[in-house]
Subunit: 331 residues, 4 copies
């Protein structure tokens, strides 16, 4: 069975999804691409024979030829669109974050529950990155005993224009706020925020360091450095009772020895690093929708808890780095 998909938002991420679905996901058919900028929608849809465009996100959700929806528009629109999709009874894959505030996340989760649940998937694609999957399996197999510490590092070449200090938390570290509990099988209970002095750009304390305490007693360090300049790099090491498990640096494909150095490249941003993760995520989501099976992706509730952690980290940031408990609201 083919799943007819409407994609809302044709920016970098939306256009990438359109291309991945069309080229690599047999059960997916992109039928509609919407963007507030019609030219951008047209550009993204161009490579897909038969795909139409729209400038109204609501029209995508309402369109009877659309079986399922991907939300890749501006963060501020996620909550309303996710609720609309849920109310239309359509499966929806929403890019992270679920919503910019915890209150809005709660609203979305409640709306989904009211509609019977199970419609919203969240685009925490690292859960489909083969390296992260192996890391979780290796921990689960218990060869190294229980986890004790986790060290996460996330560095990029340059921050998005206008990025401010909070964005490192809500836009970048939020990946770790989902990945770490998923790896450990244990929720975050308390956090604190730390940083060296100084900014890497006006209004941006960068790098930053966050400490997470999960319910299993494990301590996690999360470094986020948006303006690290030298390349894009994501690391994760789980230090356990009898050994350490480390996400290997992704395969450089060619090593050159030249001018006295042995060097291998880093990618310039997250897309080559996680191209496989996005492909496998979209494949898993489309197959689940086609088969009427529950989605194996992160849920709306996962999106809510990640946002709750983010707000606690920001509270610590604003209060001198003190330890702040993480409390998920009643639903």
């Amino acid at each position: 069975m083919t799943v007819r998909i409407g994609v809302i938002g044709a920016g970098v991420m939306g256009a990438d999804h359109v291309n991945t679905l069309h080229r690599y996901v047999p059960a997916a058919e992109v039928v509609l691409v919407a963007d507030t900028d019609p030219a951008r929608a047209r550009a993204a849809a161009d490579s897909v024979p038969g795909a139409r465009t729209a400038d109204d996100a609501r029209a995508v959700i309402a369109d009877p030829s659309v079986d399922a929806v991907i939300i890749a528009s501006h963060d501020s629109t996620h909550a309303d669109l996710a609720v609309a999709a849920v109310e239309a009874g359509k499966p929806v894959l929403c890019e992270k974050p679920l919503a910019p505030t915890v209150a809005e996340c709660v609203r979305v989760v409640r709306a989904e529950r009211a509609a019977g649940g199970g419609l919203i998937s969240l685009g925490f694609m690292r859960r489909f990155d083969p390296g992260h999957v192996e890391l979780r399996e290796a921990l689960g197999e218990g060869r190294c005993g229980n986890a004790r510490l986790v060290h996460c590092v996330s560095r990029g070449v340059s921050a998005a224009p206008g990025a401010i200090t909070e964005f490192s938390v809500t836009g970048s570290a939020i990946h770790e706020f989902d990945t770490v509990p998923w790896l450990l099988g244990s929720p975050v209970e308390a956090v604190s925020w730390h940083a060296p002095d100084g900014e890497s750009a006006p209004g941006l304390r960068d790098p930053q360091l966050m400490l997470l305490h999960t319910a299993d007693g494990v301590l996690t360090t999360v470094e986020v450095f948006l303006n690290a300049r030298y390349g894009y790099e994501v690391r994760c090491e789980i230090v356990a009772e009898r050994g350490a498990l480390t996400l290997a640096a992704p395969a450089p494909r060619v090593v050159t020895d030249l001018a006295g150095t042995r060097s291998t490249g880093h990618p310039a941003d997250w897309r080559p690093r996680f191209a496989d993760a996005y492909r496998l995520e979209l494949l898993a989501w489309t197959d689940a929708v086609a088969a009427g099976r529950p989605s194996p992706l992160a849920t709306a509730y996962d999106g809510l808890t990640a946002s709750v952690v983010a707000e606690a980290v920001i509270a610590s940031m604003k209060d001198g780095g003190r330890t702040v408990p993480v409390t998920v609201p009643e639903l």
Copy 2:
């Protein structure tokens, strides 16, 4: 446009192709799977809704619902089936080798030319391995100057049952006989064969070492070790005038530090190593067939020249390791 594909041979390689086409290649529809063993055909077809099975390879080629054919049956059947597909005017992707002897390869190439050419693609999947592709591009960009030496290593855990000395050449090194000229853009002109004393199994001199001289003056070493025990590993280093380009070991995804060692695994055979190469090869072939474009895969002529090199290497093997010139027959 969808390409309806018939797969001949449902062994390890054929079943793998059926699965890859079905799961990862949107434009491909596997409609027919043939094997002399009906149960094996059934098993391979089972995961593809609507796919039929057959026990007669000719029936696949003749079937009007089959647009294109994949030949993954026993090596001894490749030539006859490829000729039959060509005569039926159908695009065909033939697993290596094109045929077990040079004489048969010549027959196939002539048949294809008589039919107008361009129908046969050969499954030298390394041309689609992202590492090999980058290696070729890096050489082409000229950062390191011209190639001077190439070192290839191909090791496996254990040889196929009954494998004899010649098989290391015709069944394994034949990949390098295609890859090296493709990397260098220069044909092999002379070869010699060398080996340590002794066999790794009855009738199997193993490991072996082959030297290839290409028309550009480059010298290549090819080590093949079928019973290397420790893992499957393919290496390639191009030593050039001002630096070296090396195929990096494929990404271990997780590194474990345990029991005093830092270790990362090798795959057990070639399939995980080249899973991406097979996927991208089948995608490129299907897209070309669907669009009526020339196939970007290796051609029948490439298959012929690789077999000519293999025969020269075996001639050297039987004549004390002397240098043997490589002569491609007139067509």
Copy 3:
């Protein structure tokens, strides 16, 4: 000129120094080895022709044939012996820590100053580890800009018998309390202490994580894991404005590919890891003493400041991980 050296303490570290001096340091002559256990003194001195033994540390310092003294006896004896050596006007190399408490360290520093200064060197051997030296030089060259974060990791196979939580700070992390300010050229101003729940042995919270803020605004993380089981490992990464500088894992000399893994060993403890550092440290100290030049090793004051940091970390440990300022006492 030959420097006649008396070594106090013939345990693991003292015996190692005797051997290193004798075999690798031309200007050194070990003339006297003292230990409260005469057999241990005898064993250490045995390989050195002409070396005498003693059971009284004071006798070593007083001995007219001893030009310079090494203190490698129990931590609790360091302060008194260092003061005695200073009062005897003899150059002394004291193993870390200078003394178990800040108050005692102050007493030693004052005694040295009263004697004119410059007599005490402290055995923070990492300052002579070629990797640490290169790291410091590379940072100083400014290729990567200013440091922003430092990540230190120190893991061992198993803690000393009876080690308790504080020991991770005073006995292990104290190395980083010296190394980090030395690398950055900036003193530690504030610290905090963190840990996952649970102990790795009775009375030992392990692993631990410490945060250091230096006067230059840099934030440092120090992980200490005494019972890490898998091997001894010291890491240091300096994350700077335009790149990162990382202490490479020390050369595995042979890589084995066996049983499906690529593995290289970790040493079982710190001695092979820092054998070169100890040799170069003893060489530099002996040469300076022989030439009457100032010692290039860490000073008594460096030992004092490291102990002040350690006490601040322990204060944080006992106060829920709050940030504790570091104040060096007036002298």
Copy 4:
């Protein structure tokens, strides 16, 4: 006991030995340094208090204050000086090669035997390189079974001025002609020579590839590339029945991530690469001389056999790469 050493030849290698002996070898006292260029002798001797200079190599050997001699002068002088030292009854460490021709090597070995044997050591320092030592031990422990193939690579930044094709064999690959039989415990019995077309400098075919067959049936490849440009690098991999043992690249001490690459340096020449090997070799030789024990270094006979292999390789070079047997002359 101190060994008073006279060093003949104060070029790069001789000056390096003077410095290493003085700084790192306690039992050694450099008393005399000779060179045909007095200024060069003076420069080398300058850092050693009390060392005298000479311009006559014979005077060094004859000097009653010289206990043992190091020959680091021009290759063409080695044989005569080694014979003179032997006739004076003095232990001598001769840099490789023992002599430029097999006939001269035979003369030296006979002279040494006539004098009772055991006086000449040969400076094949790789036998003291910790990596090579571990490689040999790991093979000897048998964890990977018997060796089947050995792959050696030796690359440099630039050839010595005026180096011609034969020099790659007699001046560089001669190290492997000693190392490989030492690693395997088996002599070389047959060789062949191969190369890509073209020269890297006038008169210099470069790179070159040599195949060695040892008596144990193992096949070895030796790549020598003098003008490799990118750095100095020595590799050795022993491929055995159940795994591979590989000389790891020597420890980069600091890794920098900068400008999008992860890079570690190669040394510019062999001296930093083998600094430890030279130090340990000189230490072992001096200690043996001091104690009157047999030298653990390579012998004059080892130097002869390496030269015999070199001549066989050159014979193959001049005869189209045919396989040439290696025959050690009767003594």
